[in-house]
Protein backbone atom coordinates (compact mmCIF):
# COMPACT_ATOMS: atom_id res chain seq x y z
CA UNK A 1 0.00 0.00 0.00
CA UNK A 2 1.14 3.55 -0.68
CA UNK A 3 1.93 6.17 1.94
CA UNK A 4 -1.11 7.93 3.43
CA UNK A 5 -1.61 11.60 2.45
CA UNK A 6 -2.51 12.48 6.01
CA UNK A 7 -1.59 10.50 9.08
CA UNK A 8 -1.87 11.05 12.80
CA UNK A 9 -0.08 9.25 15.57
CA UNK A 10 -1.55 8.93 19.04
CA UNK A 11 -3.29 12.30 19.04
CA UNK A 12 -4.39 13.36 22.50
CA UNK A 13 -6.19 16.57 23.48
CA UNK A 14 -6.90 17.64 27.03
CA UNK A 15 -9.01 20.58 28.11
CA UNK A 16 -8.03 20.86 31.76
CA UNK A 17 -8.99 17.52 33.33
CA UNK A 18 -11.24 16.58 30.43
CA UNK A 19 -9.74 14.28 27.80
CA UNK A 20 -11.37 15.17 24.50
CA UNK A 21 -9.20 12.81 22.44
CA UNK A 22 -6.93 9.91 23.38
CA UNK A 23 -4.51 7.99 21.20
CA UNK A 24 -6.26 8.69 17.93
CA UNK A 25 -4.27 7.22 15.06
CA UNK A 26 -5.59 7.79 11.60
CA UNK A 27 -4.40 7.20 8.03
CA UNK A 28 -6.13 8.95 5.19
CA UNK A 29 -5.25 7.56 1.77
CA UNK A 30 -4.88 9.90 -1.16
CA UNK A 31 -7.92 10.25 -3.40
CA UNK A 32 -10.40 8.66 -1.01
CA UNK A 33 -13.43 9.84 0.92
CA UNK A 34 -12.65 9.10 4.56
CA UNK A 35 -15.44 9.70 7.05
CA UNK A 36 -15.22 10.24 10.76
CA UNK A 37 -18.40 9.31 12.58
CA UNK A 38 -19.43 8.92 16.17
CA UNK A 39 -22.05 10.02 18.67
CA UNK A 40 -22.26 13.65 19.82
CA UNK A 41 -19.34 14.62 21.99
CA UNK A 42 -17.12 11.86 20.58
CA UNK A 43 -14.45 14.43 19.66
CA UNK A 44 -14.96 14.62 15.90
CA UNK A 45 -14.78 18.39 15.59
CA UNK A 46 -11.87 18.51 18.05
CA UNK A 47 -10.04 16.06 15.80
CA UNK A 48 -10.81 18.27 12.79
CA UNK A 49 -9.46 21.29 14.62
CA UNK A 50 -6.24 19.40 15.33
CA UNK A 51 -5.93 18.20 11.74
CA UNK A 52 -6.52 21.67 10.27
CA UNK A 53 -4.42 23.55 12.80
CA UNK A 54 -6.97 25.48 14.81
CA UNK A 55 -5.96 23.51 17.88
CA UNK A 56 -2.59 22.19 19.01
CA UNK A 57 -2.81 18.63 20.35
CA UNK A 58 -1.51 17.89 23.84
CA UNK A 59 0.13 14.73 22.50
CA UNK A 60 0.85 13.09 19.18
CA UNK A 61 1.77 14.12 15.67
CA UNK A 62 0.00 15.16 12.48
CA UNK A 63 1.83 14.33 9.26
CA UNK A 64 0.76 15.69 5.87
CA UNK A 65 2.44 14.04 2.86
CA UNK A 66 5.46 13.08 4.96
CA UNK A 67 5.81 16.48 6.61
CA UNK A 68 5.18 17.00 10.31
CA UNK A 69 2.60 19.81 10.54
CA UNK A 70 1.61 19.33 14.18
CA UNK A 71 2.59 22.87 15.23
CA UNK A 72 1.90 24.63 11.94
CA UNK A 73 -0.80 27.34 12.22
CA UNK A 74 -4.02 26.93 10.25
CA UNK A 75 -3.27 29.58 7.64
CA UNK A 76 0.05 27.95 6.75
CA UNK A 77 -1.56 24.55 6.26
CA UNK A 78 -3.88 26.03 3.64
CA UNK A 79 -0.83 26.74 1.53
CA UNK A 80 0.19 23.09 1.82
CA UNK A 81 -3.13 22.08 0.28
CA UNK A 82 -5.49 21.73 3.24
CA UNK A 83 -8.89 23.42 3.28
CA UNK A 84 -11.94 23.09 5.47
CA UNK A 85 -15.57 23.98 5.94
CA UNK A 86 -17.15 24.46 9.33
CA UNK A 87 -19.95 22.75 11.24
CA UNK A 88 -21.60 26.08 11.96
CA UNK A 89 -21.84 28.05 8.73
CA UNK A 90 -18.82 30.29 8.61
CA UNK A 91 -18.86 32.78 5.76
CA UNK A 92 -18.60 36.57 5.37
CA UNK A 93 -22.36 37.27 5.55
CA UNK A 94 -22.12 41.00 4.81
CA UNK A 95 -20.12 40.50 1.62
CA UNK A 96 -21.42 39.21 -1.70
CA UNK A 97 -21.19 35.56 -2.72
CA UNK A 98 -18.66 36.55 -5.37
CA UNK A 99 -16.55 38.48 -2.86
CA UNK A 100 -16.59 35.49 -0.49
CA UNK A 101 -15.22 33.27 -3.25
CA UNK A 102 -12.81 35.94 -4.47
CA UNK A 103 -11.36 36.27 -0.95
CA UNK A 104 -10.89 32.51 -0.82
CA UNK A 105 -9.08 32.52 -4.18
CA UNK A 106 -7.03 35.57 -3.29
CA UNK A 107 -5.78 33.90 -0.10
CA UNK A 108 -3.82 31.36 -2.13
CA UNK A 109 -2.71 33.66 -4.95
CA UNK A 110 0.84 34.30 -3.76
CA UNK A 111 1.63 37.89 -2.81
CA UNK A 112 -1.69 39.21 -4.19
CA UNK A 113 -3.21 39.80 -0.71
CA UNK A 114 -0.45 42.28 0.14
CA UNK A 115 -1.01 44.48 -2.89
CA UNK A 116 -2.29 47.84 -1.71
CA UNK A 117 -1.44 50.10 -4.66
CA UNK A 118 -4.06 48.97 -7.13
CA UNK A 119 -7.59 47.66 -7.26
CA UNK A 120 -8.72 44.08 -6.69
CA UNK A 121 -8.73 41.55 -9.49
CA UNK A 122 -12.50 40.98 -9.72
CA UNK A 123 -12.33 37.42 -11.00
CA UNK A 124 -8.99 35.80 -10.21
CA UNK A 125 -9.58 33.29 -12.97
CA UNK A 126 -11.39 30.54 -11.22
CA UNK A 127 -14.20 32.34 -9.42
CA UNK A 128 -16.85 31.55 -12.03
CA UNK A 129 -15.68 27.95 -12.21
CA UNK A 130 -15.92 27.49 -8.44
CA UNK A 131 -19.34 29.17 -8.34
CA UNK A 132 -20.49 26.80 -11.05
CA UNK A 133 -19.08 23.75 -9.28
CA UNK A 134 -21.17 24.47 -6.17
CA UNK A 135 -24.21 25.72 -8.09
CA UNK A 136 -24.10 29.40 -7.09
CA UNK A 137 -23.53 31.03 -10.49
CA UNK A 138 -26.96 32.68 -10.56
CA UNK A 139 -26.58 34.11 -7.05
CA UNK A 140 -23.04 35.43 -7.32
CA UNK A 141 -24.01 39.06 -6.66
CA UNK A 142 -26.23 38.25 -3.69
CA UNK A 143 -25.28 39.23 -0.17
CA UNK A 144 -24.01 35.93 1.24
CA UNK A 145 -26.12 36.31 4.39
CA UNK A 146 -29.27 36.35 2.20
CA UNK A 147 -28.62 32.87 0.78
CA UNK A 148 -30.75 29.95 1.98
CA UNK A 149 -29.16 27.61 4.49
CA UNK A 150 -28.34 25.15 1.72
CA UNK A 151 -26.87 27.95 -0.35
CA UNK A 152 -24.64 29.05 2.51
CA UNK A 153 -23.43 25.49 3.02
CA UNK A 154 -22.65 25.28 -0.69
CA UNK A 155 -20.76 28.56 -0.47
CA UNK A 156 -18.72 27.14 2.42
CA UNK A 157 -17.71 24.17 0.32
CA UNK A 158 -16.95 26.51 -2.58
CA UNK A 159 -14.67 28.63 -0.37
CA UNK A 160 -12.82 25.50 0.69
CA UNK A 161 -12.53 24.35 -2.93
CA UNK A 162 -11.25 27.72 -4.10
CA UNK A 163 -7.86 26.97 -2.56
CA UNK A 164 -7.64 23.99 -4.93
CA UNK A 165 -6.78 21.78 -1.97
CA UNK A 166 -5.28 18.30 -2.09
CA UNK A 167 -7.24 17.43 1.02
CA UNK A 168 -10.53 18.98 2.07
CA UNK A 169 -12.15 18.70 5.48
CA UNK A 170 -15.94 18.97 5.57
CA UNK A 171 -17.55 19.27 9.00
CA UNK A 172 -21.17 18.15 8.72
CA UNK A 173 -21.76 19.64 5.27
CA UNK A 174 -25.29 18.23 5.12
CA UNK A 175 -26.47 19.54 8.50
CA UNK A 176 -29.85 21.20 8.24
CA UNK A 177 -30.17 20.70 4.48
CA UNK A 178 -33.40 19.92 2.66
CA UNK A 179 -33.70 16.63 0.81
CA UNK A 180 -32.87 18.02 -2.64
CA UNK A 181 -29.83 19.83 -1.35
CA UNK A 182 -28.67 16.68 0.43
CA UNK A 183 -28.67 14.72 -2.79
CA UNK A 184 -26.92 17.44 -4.76
CA UNK A 185 -24.29 17.99 -2.06
CA UNK A 186 -23.69 14.26 -1.74
CA UNK A 187 -22.98 14.07 -5.48
CA UNK A 188 -20.71 17.08 -5.18
CA UNK A 189 -18.69 15.50 -2.36
CA UNK A 190 -18.47 12.15 -4.13
CA UNK A 191 -17.26 13.96 -7.24
CA UNK A 192 -14.36 15.58 -5.36
CA UNK A 193 -12.52 12.24 -5.10
CA UNK A 194 -10.31 10.86 -6.53
CA UNK A 195 -8.95 14.22 -7.73
CA UNK A 196 -8.96 15.36 -4.12
CA UNK A 197 -8.96 13.63 -0.78
CA UNK A 198 -12.01 14.25 1.38
CA UNK A 199 -12.23 13.92 5.15
CA UNK A 200 -15.84 14.09 6.19
CA UNK A 201 -17.68 14.41 9.47
CA UNK A 202 -21.32 13.59 8.95
CA UNK A 203 -24.33 12.37 10.88
CA UNK A 204 -26.32 11.23 7.89
CA UNK A 205 -25.28 7.57 8.08
CA UNK A 206 -26.78 6.57 4.76
CA UNK A 207 -24.74 9.16 2.94
CA UNK A 208 -21.57 8.26 4.87
CA UNK A 209 -21.85 4.54 4.17
CA UNK A 210 -22.76 5.29 0.58
CA UNK A 211 -19.86 7.52 -0.43
CA UNK A 212 -16.94 6.66 1.87
CA UNK A 213 -14.06 4.33 1.13
CA UNK A 214 -12.99 4.30 4.73
CA UNK A 215 -14.81 5.07 7.98
CA UNK A 216 -13.31 5.83 11.37
CA UNK A 217 -15.64 5.58 14.36
CA UNK A 218 -14.91 7.70 17.42
CA UNK A 219 -16.57 7.33 20.80
CA UNK A 220 -15.57 9.26 23.91
CA UNK A 221 -12.42 10.49 22.24
CA UNK A 222 -11.13 7.07 21.16
CA UNK A 223 -11.15 5.17 17.91
CA UNK A 224 -13.44 2.19 18.38
CA UNK A 225 -13.50 0.94 14.81
CA UNK A 226 -11.98 1.61 11.44
CA UNK A 227 -12.58 0.08 8.04
CA UNK A 228 -14.64 0.13 4.86
CA UNK A 229 -18.40 0.78 5.20
CA UNK A 230 -19.34 -2.89 4.92
CA UNK A 231 -17.19 -3.74 7.90
CA UNK A 232 -18.42 -0.81 9.99
CA UNK A 233 -22.03 -1.73 9.39
CA UNK A 234 -21.54 -5.09 11.07
CA UNK A 235 -19.22 -4.01 13.86
CA UNK A 236 -20.45 -4.86 17.31
CA UNK A 237 -18.64 -2.02 19.09
CA UNK A 238 -20.13 0.49 16.68
CA UNK A 239 -23.62 -0.87 17.24
CA UNK A 240 -23.00 -0.55 20.97
CA UNK A 241 -21.91 3.10 20.66
CA UNK A 242 -24.86 3.93 18.43
CA UNK A 243 -27.39 1.86 20.32
CA UNK A 244 -30.81 3.36 19.84
CA UNK A 245 -29.65 5.90 17.30
CA UNK A 246 -31.20 3.87 14.47
CA UNK A 247 -28.14 2.88 12.53
Amino acid sequence: MTEPLLATQDIGVRFGDFRALSEVTLSVMSGTVHSVIGPNGAGKTTLFNVLTGRLSPSEGRVVLAGRDVTRLPAHRRVHLGMARSFQVTNIFPELTVGENLRLALQAVSGAQPWIFWRGVDPDLGRMQAVAEEVGLTARISWRAGDLSHGGQRALEIGMALAADPRIIFLDEPLAGMGIDDVHRTKELIRGLAPARTVVLIEHNMRVVLDISEQVTVLAQGRTIAEGPPALIRGDAAVREAYLGSGM
Partner: protein, 322 residues
Protein backbone atom coordinates in the same frame (compact mmCIF):
# COMPACT_ATOMS: atom_id res chain seq x y z
CA UNK B 1 -23.84 49.98 2.30
CA UNK B 2 -20.98 52.30 3.05
CA UNK B 3 -17.88 52.62 0.95
CA UNK B 4 -15.46 50.97 3.38
CA UNK B 5 -17.71 47.93 3.48
CA UNK B 6 -17.43 47.27 -0.21
CA UNK B 7 -14.03 48.83 -0.63
CA UNK B 8 -15.29 51.72 -2.71
CA UNK B 9 -13.53 52.95 -5.78
CA UNK B 10 -10.34 54.82 -6.36
CA UNK B 11 -10.65 57.62 -7.13
CA UNK B 12 -14.34 58.46 -6.68
CA UNK B 13 -16.51 61.52 -6.12
CA UNK B 14 -15.22 61.93 -2.57
CA UNK B 15 -11.66 62.30 -3.92
CA UNK B 16 -12.74 65.39 -5.83
CA UNK B 17 -14.79 66.54 -2.84
CA UNK B 18 -11.81 66.37 -0.49
CA UNK B 19 -9.58 68.20 -3.00
CA UNK B 20 -12.13 71.01 -3.39
CA UNK B 21 -12.67 71.25 0.37
CA UNK B 22 -8.93 71.49 1.04
CA UNK B 23 -8.60 74.36 -1.42
CA UNK B 24 -11.69 76.15 -0.14
CA UNK B 25 -11.10 75.78 3.61
CA UNK B 26 -8.76 78.75 4.19
CA UNK B 27 -11.20 81.00 2.33
CA UNK B 28 -14.35 79.70 3.97
CA UNK B 29 -13.09 79.55 7.54
CA UNK B 30 -12.38 82.74 9.49
CA UNK B 31 -8.65 82.02 9.88
CA UNK B 32 -5.94 79.96 8.19
CA UNK B 33 -4.98 78.68 11.65
CA UNK B 34 -8.37 77.05 12.00
CA UNK B 35 -8.08 75.47 8.56
CA UNK B 36 -4.60 74.14 9.44
CA UNK B 37 -5.78 72.69 12.72
CA UNK B 38 -8.67 71.01 10.93
CA UNK B 39 -6.51 69.21 8.36
CA UNK B 40 -3.98 68.11 11.00
CA UNK B 41 -6.70 66.50 13.09
CA UNK B 42 -8.43 65.06 10.03
CA UNK B 43 -5.30 63.02 9.31
CA UNK B 44 -5.04 61.99 12.97
CA UNK B 45 -8.70 60.92 13.04
CA UNK B 46 -8.12 59.00 9.79
CA UNK B 47 -5.66 56.84 11.69
CA UNK B 48 -8.40 55.82 14.17
CA UNK B 49 -11.13 55.53 11.58
CA UNK B 50 -8.96 53.31 9.38
CA UNK B 51 -8.36 50.80 12.18
CA UNK B 52 -11.93 50.84 13.41
CA UNK B 53 -13.68 50.93 10.04
CA UNK B 54 -11.46 48.63 8.02
CA UNK B 55 -10.06 46.10 10.50
CA UNK B 56 -12.52 46.49 13.37
CA UNK B 57 -9.75 47.37 15.84
CA UNK B 58 -10.54 49.99 18.46
CA UNK B 59 -7.31 51.68 19.51
CA UNK B 60 -7.13 54.00 22.48
CA UNK B 61 -3.48 54.54 21.70
CA UNK B 62 -3.40 56.57 18.50
CA UNK B 63 -2.46 59.65 20.52
CA UNK B 64 0.84 57.93 21.31
CA UNK B 65 1.75 57.79 17.63
CA UNK B 66 0.58 61.37 17.17
CA UNK B 67 2.93 62.32 20.00
CA UNK B 68 5.89 60.33 18.67
CA UNK B 69 5.51 61.96 15.24
CA UNK B 70 5.29 65.41 16.84
CA UNK B 71 8.38 64.96 19.02
CA UNK B 72 10.58 63.15 16.50
CA UNK B 73 9.99 65.74 13.79
CA UNK B 74 10.44 68.61 16.28
CA UNK B 75 13.76 67.23 17.53
CA UNK B 76 15.03 66.76 13.97
CA UNK B 77 14.02 70.31 13.03
CA UNK B 78 15.23 71.97 16.21
CA UNK B 79 18.36 70.06 17.23
CA UNK B 80 19.61 68.68 13.94
CA UNK B 81 18.64 71.38 11.48
CA UNK B 82 16.75 69.06 9.15
CA UNK B 83 14.61 70.36 6.30
CA UNK B 84 10.84 70.16 6.73
CA UNK B 85 9.94 67.27 4.40
CA UNK B 86 12.50 64.74 5.67
CA UNK B 87 11.68 65.66 9.28
CA UNK B 88 7.98 65.02 8.63
CA UNK B 89 8.73 61.78 6.77
CA UNK B 90 10.98 60.42 9.51
CA UNK B 91 8.45 61.47 12.19
CA UNK B 92 5.75 59.47 10.39
CA UNK B 93 8.06 56.51 9.78
CA UNK B 94 9.17 56.41 13.43
CA UNK B 95 5.54 56.23 14.53
CA UNK B 96 4.81 53.52 11.98
CA UNK B 97 7.75 51.51 13.27
CA UNK B 98 6.74 51.98 16.91
CA UNK B 99 3.18 50.97 16.06
CA UNK B 100 4.41 47.87 14.23
CA UNK B 101 6.47 46.79 17.22
CA UNK B 102 3.68 47.38 19.72
CA UNK B 103 1.27 45.58 17.40
CA UNK B 104 3.43 42.45 17.64
CA UNK B 105 2.55 42.41 21.34
CA UNK B 106 -1.05 43.55 21.05
CA UNK B 107 -2.72 41.93 18.03
CA UNK B 108 -2.79 38.48 19.60
CA UNK B 109 -5.27 39.85 22.13
CA UNK B 110 -8.87 40.38 21.17
CA UNK B 111 -11.70 42.69 22.12
CA UNK B 112 -11.39 44.52 25.38
CA UNK B 113 -7.89 43.16 26.09
CA UNK B 114 -6.60 44.71 22.90
CA UNK B 115 -8.24 48.02 23.79
CA UNK B 116 -6.70 47.95 27.28
CA UNK B 117 -3.24 47.27 25.86
CA UNK B 118 -3.48 50.25 23.49
CA UNK B 119 -4.63 52.36 26.45
CA UNK B 120 -1.61 51.20 28.45
CA UNK B 121 0.74 52.03 25.56
CA UNK B 122 -0.69 55.52 25.33
CA UNK B 123 -0.29 56.07 29.05
CA UNK B 124 3.29 54.77 29.01
CA UNK B 125 4.11 57.12 26.16
CA UNK B 126 3.25 60.11 28.31
CA UNK B 127 5.50 58.97 31.15
CA UNK B 128 8.28 58.08 28.73
CA UNK B 129 8.06 61.66 27.45
CA UNK B 130 8.46 62.94 31.03
CA UNK B 131 11.33 60.54 31.72
CA UNK B 132 13.16 61.64 28.58
CA UNK B 133 12.90 65.30 29.45
CA UNK B 134 16.42 66.03 28.19
CA UNK B 135 15.11 65.35 24.70
CA UNK B 136 11.43 66.19 25.01
CA UNK B 137 11.57 69.18 27.32
CA UNK B 138 9.38 67.35 29.84
CA UNK B 139 6.43 69.40 31.01
CA UNK B 140 7.68 72.47 29.18
CA UNK B 141 7.50 70.82 25.79
CA UNK B 142 9.72 71.90 22.93
CA UNK B 143 9.50 75.57 22.09
CA UNK B 144 10.91 77.49 19.17
CA UNK B 145 10.79 74.73 16.58
CA UNK B 146 11.86 76.35 13.29
CA UNK B 147 9.93 76.00 10.07
CA UNK B 148 12.70 75.63 7.47
CA UNK B 149 12.12 75.25 3.71
CA UNK B 150 10.79 71.94 2.38
CA UNK B 151 14.01 70.45 1.06
CA UNK B 152 17.48 71.70 0.15
CA UNK B 153 16.60 75.31 0.78
CA UNK B 154 13.71 75.23 -1.69
CA UNK B 155 10.08 75.92 -0.90
CA UNK B 156 9.95 78.35 1.97
CA UNK B 157 7.14 78.09 4.50
CA UNK B 158 7.40 81.63 5.76
CA UNK B 159 3.70 82.43 5.95
CA UNK B 160 0.75 80.66 7.54
CA UNK B 161 -0.76 80.34 4.05
CA UNK B 162 2.19 78.44 2.57
CA UNK B 163 2.30 76.24 5.68
CA UNK B 164 -1.38 75.50 5.15
CA UNK B 165 -0.60 74.59 1.54
CA UNK B 166 1.89 71.98 2.72
CA UNK B 167 -0.44 70.62 5.40
CA UNK B 168 -3.31 70.38 2.91
CA UNK B 169 -1.12 68.50 0.42
CA UNK B 170 0.04 66.08 3.10
CA UNK B 171 -3.56 65.55 4.22
CA UNK B 172 -4.59 64.89 0.63
CA UNK B 173 -1.75 62.39 0.21
CA UNK B 174 -2.81 60.60 3.42
CA UNK B 175 -6.39 60.51 2.21
CA UNK B 176 -5.36 59.11 -1.19
CA UNK B 177 -3.32 56.41 0.55
CA UNK B 178 -6.24 55.34 2.75
CA UNK B 179 -8.66 55.38 -0.17
CA UNK B 180 -6.22 53.44 -2.33
CA UNK B 181 -5.65 50.82 0.39
CA UNK B 182 -9.38 50.55 1.01
CA UNK B 183 -10.04 49.59 -2.62
CA UNK B 184 -7.09 47.19 -2.92
CA UNK B 185 -6.58 43.44 -2.37
CA UNK B 186 -4.87 44.26 0.93
CA UNK B 187 -7.94 46.27 1.98
CA UNK B 188 -10.23 43.40 1.07
CA UNK B 189 -8.25 41.12 3.40
CA UNK B 190 -8.61 43.65 6.24
CA UNK B 191 -12.36 43.74 5.68
CA UNK B 192 -12.49 39.95 5.68
CA UNK B 193 -10.68 39.93 9.03
CA UNK B 194 -13.14 42.47 10.42
CA UNK B 195 -16.11 40.43 9.20
CA UNK B 196 -14.94 37.00 10.35
CA UNK B 197 -11.46 36.55 11.70
CA UNK B 198 -11.61 32.76 12.09
CA UNK B 199 -12.80 32.35 8.52
CA UNK B 200 -10.06 34.59 7.17
CA UNK B 201 -7.48 32.46 8.99
CA UNK B 202 -9.03 29.24 7.67
CA UNK B 203 -8.89 30.61 4.12
CA UNK B 204 -5.14 30.89 4.48
CA UNK B 205 -4.61 34.52 5.49
CA UNK B 206 -1.99 35.21 8.13
CA UNK B 207 -4.41 37.29 10.20
CA UNK B 208 -1.72 38.33 12.68
CA UNK B 209 0.61 39.67 10.00
CA UNK B 210 -2.19 41.63 8.33
CA UNK B 211 -3.27 43.16 11.64
CA UNK B 212 0.31 44.17 12.42
CA UNK B 213 0.66 45.78 8.99
CA UNK B 214 -2.64 47.64 9.39
CA UNK B 215 -1.67 48.85 12.86
CA UNK B 216 1.71 50.04 11.58
CA UNK B 217 0.02 51.89 8.72
CA UNK B 218 -2.41 53.55 11.14
CA UNK B 219 0.51 54.44 13.42
CA UNK B 220 2.27 56.04 10.48
CA UNK B 221 -0.83 58.15 9.72
CA UNK B 222 -0.97 59.18 13.38
CA UNK B 223 2.72 60.09 13.29
CA UNK B 224 2.26 62.07 10.09
CA UNK B 225 -0.51 64.04 11.79
CA UNK B 226 1.75 64.66 14.79
CA UNK B 227 4.56 65.93 12.56
CA UNK B 228 2.05 68.15 10.75
CA UNK B 229 0.99 69.47 14.15
CA UNK B 230 4.60 70.45 14.89
CA UNK B 231 4.86 72.27 11.54
CA UNK B 232 1.55 73.98 12.23
CA UNK B 233 2.28 75.18 15.78
CA UNK B 234 6.04 75.68 15.71
CA UNK B 235 6.30 74.11 19.14
CA UNK B 236 5.37 70.85 20.83
CA UNK B 237 3.12 71.16 23.86
CA UNK B 238 3.40 68.08 26.11
CA UNK B 239 -0.32 67.42 25.74
CA UNK B 240 0.26 66.04 22.22
CA UNK B 241 1.19 62.73 23.84
CA UNK B 242 -1.47 62.80 26.57
CA UNK B 243 -4.26 60.27 26.73
CA UNK B 244 -6.72 63.05 26.00
CA UNK B 245 -5.48 63.18 22.39
CA UNK B 246 -6.22 59.47 21.92
CA UNK B 247 -9.69 60.07 23.28
CA UNK B 248 -10.22 63.11 21.08
CA UNK B 249 -9.19 61.18 17.96
CA UNK B 250 -11.67 58.38 18.67
CA UNK B 251 -14.44 60.93 19.25
CA UNK B 252 -13.62 62.63 15.94
CA UNK B 253 -13.51 59.28 14.13
CA UNK B 254 -16.88 58.17 15.49
CA UNK B 255 -18.60 61.52 14.92
CA UNK B 256 -17.34 61.63 11.34
CA UNK B 257 -18.05 57.96 10.74
CA UNK B 258 -15.77 55.05 9.99
CA UNK B 259 -17.46 53.97 6.78
CA UNK B 260 -15.49 55.97 4.22
CA UNK B 261 -11.96 57.32 3.83
CA UNK B 262 -13.23 60.92 3.64
CA UNK B 263 -15.41 60.70 6.77
CA UNK B 264 -12.68 61.76 9.26
CA UNK B 265 -12.61 65.20 7.60
CA UNK B 266 -16.19 65.69 8.78
CA UNK B 267 -15.44 64.42 12.28
CA UNK B 268 -12.34 66.56 12.71
CA UNK B 269 -14.09 69.52 11.11
CA UNK B 270 -17.04 69.24 13.46
CA UNK B 271 -14.83 68.99 16.55
CA UNK B 272 -12.39 71.74 15.62
CA UNK B 273 -15.12 74.17 14.57
CA UNK B 274 -17.22 73.46 17.66
CA UNK B 275 -14.17 74.08 19.82
CA UNK B 276 -13.53 77.37 18.06
CA UNK B 277 -17.12 78.62 18.02
CA UNK B 278 -18.26 77.46 21.42
CA UNK B 279 -15.26 77.58 23.70
CA UNK B 280 -15.41 81.37 23.93
CA UNK B 281 -19.16 81.32 24.59
CA UNK B 282 -19.38 78.42 26.98
CA UNK B 283 -16.43 76.85 28.82
CA UNK B 284 -18.31 73.54 29.14
CA UNK B 285 -18.72 73.15 25.38
CA UNK B 286 -17.28 69.63 25.51
CA UNK B 287 -20.63 68.56 26.99
CA UNK B 288 -22.19 69.33 23.62
CA UNK B 289 -19.65 67.08 21.93
CA UNK B 290 -20.62 64.44 24.47
CA UNK B 291 -24.29 64.78 23.54
CA UNK B 292 -23.39 64.62 19.86
CA UNK B 293 -21.40 61.44 20.44
CA UNK B 294 -24.30 59.84 22.31
CA UNK B 295 -26.74 60.84 19.60
CA UNK B 296 -24.51 59.41 16.87
CA UNK B 297 -23.87 56.14 18.65
CA UNK B 298 -27.59 55.72 19.36
CA UNK B 299 -29.19 57.00 16.18
CA UNK B 300 -26.65 57.46 13.40
CA UNK B 301 -24.14 54.65 13.51
CA UNK B 302 -22.54 55.72 10.25
CA UNK B 303 -21.61 59.08 11.78
CA UNK B 304 -21.97 62.37 9.93
CA UNK B 305 -20.68 60.76 6.73
CA UNK B 306 -23.17 57.91 6.92
CA UNK B 307 -26.00 60.36 7.65
CA UNK B 308 -25.03 62.57 4.72
CA UNK B 309 -24.70 59.56 2.41
CA UNK B 310 -28.15 58.20 3.23
CA UNK B 311 -29.64 61.68 2.79
CA UNK B 312 -27.91 61.89 -0.59
CA UNK B 313 -29.33 58.51 -1.62
CA UNK B 314 -32.84 59.49 -0.54
CA UNK B 315 -32.67 62.62 -2.67
CA UNK B 316 -31.66 60.59 -5.72
CA UNK B 317 -34.14 57.73 -5.99
CA UNK B 318 -33.60 54.95 -8.52
CA UNK B 319 -29.90 54.73 -7.78
CA UNK B 320 -30.16 52.13 -5.04
CA UNK B 321 -27.73 49.27 -4.99
CA UNK B 322 -28.85 45.91 -6.32
Amino acid sequence: MSAFREGGRFPDLSTAGVAVALVALPFVLPTVTLASELVVFAVAAMSCAFLLGMVGLLSFGQGLFFGIGAYVSAILLREHGWATLPAVAVGAAASGLAAGMLAVLAVGRRGVYFVMLTLAFAQMGYFAMLALKDYTGGENGLTGVPRPPLLGGLGTLATAETAYGLLALLAFAAFLLVQRVSASPFGSVLRAIRENEARAEALGYDVRAFKIAAFALAGMLGGLAGAMHTIFLGFVPPNVIELEISERLIIMAIIGGTGAPAAPFLGAGFYVLMADLLSSLWPRWLMLVGFMLIAIVLFMRGGLWGGAASLFRRLRPGRTRS
